[in-house]
């Protein structure tokens, strides 16, 4: 029993169920760029294994909100005809989004696809659930400041960790920088880092 890290994923690698996925996972799965990135390819193969192995996939409203924001940035880049980049992502903020909001929101159906895709997969047999439910929300939230302090995480990352620890056996994330140092022999979680 411990929080352990596993780097990368090969097709066919066993993934322990249930698995909590982060926002980048949802975005890399759903958004297709002209040149498929290594992140997108890896995500789609991992999703294939999750589905093929019958792993329960856990997500949360905070994950979906983050995925929507990332997708909004993609739509903005499409609108201004500039490729996404780390610099562009940093510059994309609330004010920029609002300035172009009417044009971007012409593609609101693309935002819907993030959750519609999950529902479609669930309807065809995948076990996909949102967490937490009911009273667990209090426990998850109460643990966040402790995780922030103990693992040196900002609130959003600590919330994801708290959610994963509450119900998942596996956490799948692209946030290597923040999660590679999360180690704890007293808790039980495998963190799959997709570099």
């Amino acid at each position: 029993m411990a929080i352990v890290q596993k780097w990368g994923h090969q097709i066919g690698d066993r993934i322990d169920s249930p698995a909590y996925v982060d926002a980048n996972f949802l975005v890399y799965y759903a958004v297709g760029s002209h040149e498929a990135s290594s992140f997108q390819i890896m995500t789609r193969n991992v999703m294939g294994d999750l589905l093929a192995q019958g792993v329960t996939i856990l997500t949360s409203l905070v994950t979906v909100e983050e995925a929507w924001w990332a997708t909004l940035h993609e739509l903005y880049c499409r609108h201004i005809w500039q490729p996404p980049s780390p610099v562009a992502q940093c510059r994309f903020n609330r004010d920029v989004a609002k300035r172009h909001f009417q044009e971007i929101m012409q593609h609101k159906d693309d935002l819907k696809k993030i959750v519609d895709g999950l529902r479609e997969l669930r309807d065809k047999g995948a076990d996909i659930r949102f967490i937490p439910e009911g009273e667990k929300s209090f426990e998850v939230c109460q643990n966040v400041p402790d995780h922030m302090h103990k693992y040196n995480l900002l609130s959003a990352d600590a919330l994801h960790l708290s959610l994963a620890l509450s119900e998942a056996t596996t956490l799948i994330t692209f946030d290597v920088d923040d999660f590679q140092s999360v180690l704890d022999p007293s808790k039980d979680l495998t963190i799959i880092l997709l570099p």
Partner: protein, 166 residues
């Protein structure tokens, strides 16, 4: 897929009755691509020209194709040089050839679901579909394929190029 309303919109756009802003969603990304998917080559050409005539050439199928496939014989320069001859000539012929190619250029992902080769690269490149087809229940595999890369990111591809979409 191809509606009378859309055809009317093209007609209105050519007469200037529809503002450019309203044409955006009826442009190549939806309009001409729909005709391509339906195999209606001439209608696709008309739709692309309707967009072209608004001055928003970047939304035409031809422009997108030039940007995405610079090696093909549709260089941007020739497209620009031909701009004055909107009603005929080499641009129409190039577009006709291009659309003929696009209509034929389909990759079957599973029976009844095909996408253009460009879209296939965008959504399925590097994904071991053969493996997952064998290990997933058929209906789940179909959902997996249909939801993967379903949002167009940077490097856009005209929408609705699916042929025989479920």
């Amino acid at each position: 897929m191809v509606t009378k309303e859309y055809e009317a919109t093209i007609s209105d756009s050519q007469s200037g009755a529809v503002p450019i802003e309203e044409l955006w969603e009826y442009g190549a990304r939806i309009g001409a691509a729909n005709f391509i998917a339906a195999g209606q080559q001439e209608a696709a050409i008309q739709a692309d020209f309707a967009v072209y005539q608004t001055g928003d050439e970047k939304r035409t199928v031809l422009w997108i194709e030039v940007k995405e496939r610079p090696g093909l014989a549709y260089p941007e320069l020739r497209f620009r040089q031909s701009k004055s001859s909107l009603t005929g000539g080499s641009v129409v012929e190039e577009l006709r050839q291009l659309l003929r190619y696009r209509i034929q250029d389909q990759v079957e992902v599973y029976p009844g679901y095909s996408v253009s080769s460009i879209e296939y690269e965008r959504r399925f490149k590097g994904v071991n579909l053969d493996h997952f087809r064998k290990v997933m229940p058929p209906e789940l595999f179909k959902a997996y394929v249909q939801t993967m890369g379903s949002i167009e990111g940077w490097g856009i591809e005209p929408k609705h190029l699916y042929k025989g979409k479920d």
